[in-house]
Amino acid sequence: MKLKEFTLSIKKYAILGVLFVIILFFTIMSDSFLTTQNLLNVARQVAMLGISAVGMTCVILTSGIDLSVGSVMAITNITGSMLMVNAGLPIFPAVLLTLMISALIGLINGMLVAYVRVPALITTLAMMTILRGLSFVLCDGMPVWGLPESFKKLGQGYAGPIPIPVIVMIIVFILGWFFLNRTRTGRYIYGLGGNKEAVRLSGVNTSRIQTLVFVISSLLTGLAGIIMLSRINTGQPKIGTGYEMDVITAVVLGGVSIMGGEGSLAGVFIGVLITGVLSNGMILIDVSEYYQQITKGVVLLLAVIFDTLAKRKD
């Protein structure tokens, strides 16, 4: 009993310890790491990842997975820019339409998973491929230039010293926390991972919840896509390639069980920070792109091994 409680508490705080160790490591290795400027930079870099991670957390909690987020980022990038540049829509309606498109994609994913019962892995894998192709088709494979100057503010502006994307991310995390912990839908999402039949027999429309999590995931990634568009200021069809893996890595690092039902947004927030600090720190100390990839993979694997071993102890 004592031992079990011990391993449980380790599991809870280990992730914070890992973040601390990584920060310590880079602080020693590089003079420019622990500066306000650089830390704000890290925060801005991970903002989009963080926003998507909140949605992915909802999906993984129900024991699902959403591989389409990278392509959703691309399609929102392209549609958003084309609506503004080619169709000449003002910023606000263009953004709103783009968000609606991303929500619609999530709805299709969710309904295929919940009602047609195609496995989430396959559904979103197919959607990932389709949307990537569609992004290239829409813009003929060419970047979309000429976005309005005022649109830059969302991705590049500051509110006081803090970058706007960071503020958006923090708001999304807070709303996400209330949603997951304080609304009944949120509690049903937690229940769905591993106890689907019990949840259904409690009088919950489980298919609707299962659909909803994919809508949330897509919609939040749509939001991240728009921020990304504002940051790079061009529509890029190949943007977000491999993004889904970064998002899943951050969520799993944050302690969300891939089997569903367990995990917290606080953990995911730290998972996102670790991912960001790792990328940033490795660039600062001049680790090559290739070794960065290896490191990220190893870190993900370690997190999953840890999760599996902790589960087995139960």
Binding site: T183, R184, G191, E197, A198, S202, G203, N205
Partner: protein
Amino acid sequence: MAQEFLMQNQSALAVRGICKHYPGVTALDNIHLDFFQNEIHAVCGENGAGKSTLIKILTGAILPDQGTITIDGLERKSYTPHEAMFNYGITAIYQEFNLIPYLSIAENIFLGHEIKRKNGLLDTTKMNQEAKKALNLLGTNLDPRLQVKTLTVAFQQLVEIAKAITHNLKILIMDEPSAPLTTSEVEILFRLIKNLKERGITVIYISHRLSEIFELSDRVSVFRDGKYIETFKTGETNKKQLIQSMVGRELLDTFPKRKCVPTETVLKVENLGVKKTVQNISFSVKSGEVLGFGGLVGAGRTELVRAVFGADRISGGTIKIKGREVQIFHPKTAVKMGIGLIPEDRKQQGIISEMSIKENISYSSFTKVSRFGLIHPGYLKAVAEKYRNLLNIATPSIEKKIKELSGGNQQKVVLARWLATDCEILLFDEPTRGIDVGAKQEIYELINRLAEDGKAVVLISSEMPELLGMSDRIIVMHEGRIAGELSCEEATQEKILQLASGE
């Protein structure tokens, strides 16, 4: 006389002093039993009599706490399932087959002891030939190259038997083998079983269907509550004697009495059907009444209440609540209509295992503990504390995960979930399964209190004393239909078992 019988026949398998205890339950209590060569030996008893535990011990799937098993004169304390099958020729065929649907018949038959060529590759030709031989022995001309999933249930059963034959079958244990078969298929199976007996194989035949036991077996042994009761020569007994032997326990009057009279009809079900499992069921329950459902496992009782609750689709019939016809397509609707289901499989279907006790209690009624659409931690706690006191849920804290509670307390939490919704109709499916004696008594008292509060209660139970002690009326089901209805006064264990076995 038993002595004389023993002298004539050689014992193929002898069980001596086998005991098996689980926490709170004695599954088998000091069993002594002989199975002879060349005999079909039926084993019967009610649910929970200890038959399945006996099979598991004989096949080596579980180890007995005490006792020995003698096979061909050699005494053993324990053996592995692999030894049982390959060394001693003991095979059990369960209702659920252990076949791999995508492999061929021959590949299934030789699974685990494949025939190989010298170069290490599988000798498919040889395996097909051998499989063909085994199938021919069983009187069928099936092509061993067929995929198992394309076969009917009856042929899949044949493949299981063929599999047993190829590794030196001596003792064949069959658990309710006729259950999934049609009448003509059962006839073929019986001929086959008799044929196996002629060839010197001992068949241990477990069945609820008394007529089959009389048609097939040479001897029949009765188990009850984990104890071996007696063995009859089938020709020298009759159904009445057998039923008496199966239920022969004295009913202890440990059931608390209710002080209430049923009033208006709350739930009325007419001609309800569920695809393949339930046909043409009509019943009604009054406020303040406990309606019991008796029957054997697989009689369709669980399917019936699940359908009423909207968990499974109904194929016909109507449901009326307080005189108004309702359409229940989803448990969500049932909950709105004031119905609650305490499911049979508590672990998988009742509790939300990773969540706290307090959340489990409010899981079906979060709106009642919310303010401005957000769950209010204070309200959530207050409701949980209320039911913790009301139902006497034993836990140091309502913040604990529900999976840390004992079975009885988990069941109380599931019940609390429905009470928190203010439901009026409660469907209990085996509410005391796997619960220790003390907690059982508490559940009985709770059910009585609910009835006294005017709830309409449906109680499915496979435990006779519970069914008889708790119900105002008892409906007995057999193979998806109502076999009869008994009032509290006329119901006896014998009558229920008779109806349940379709006699």
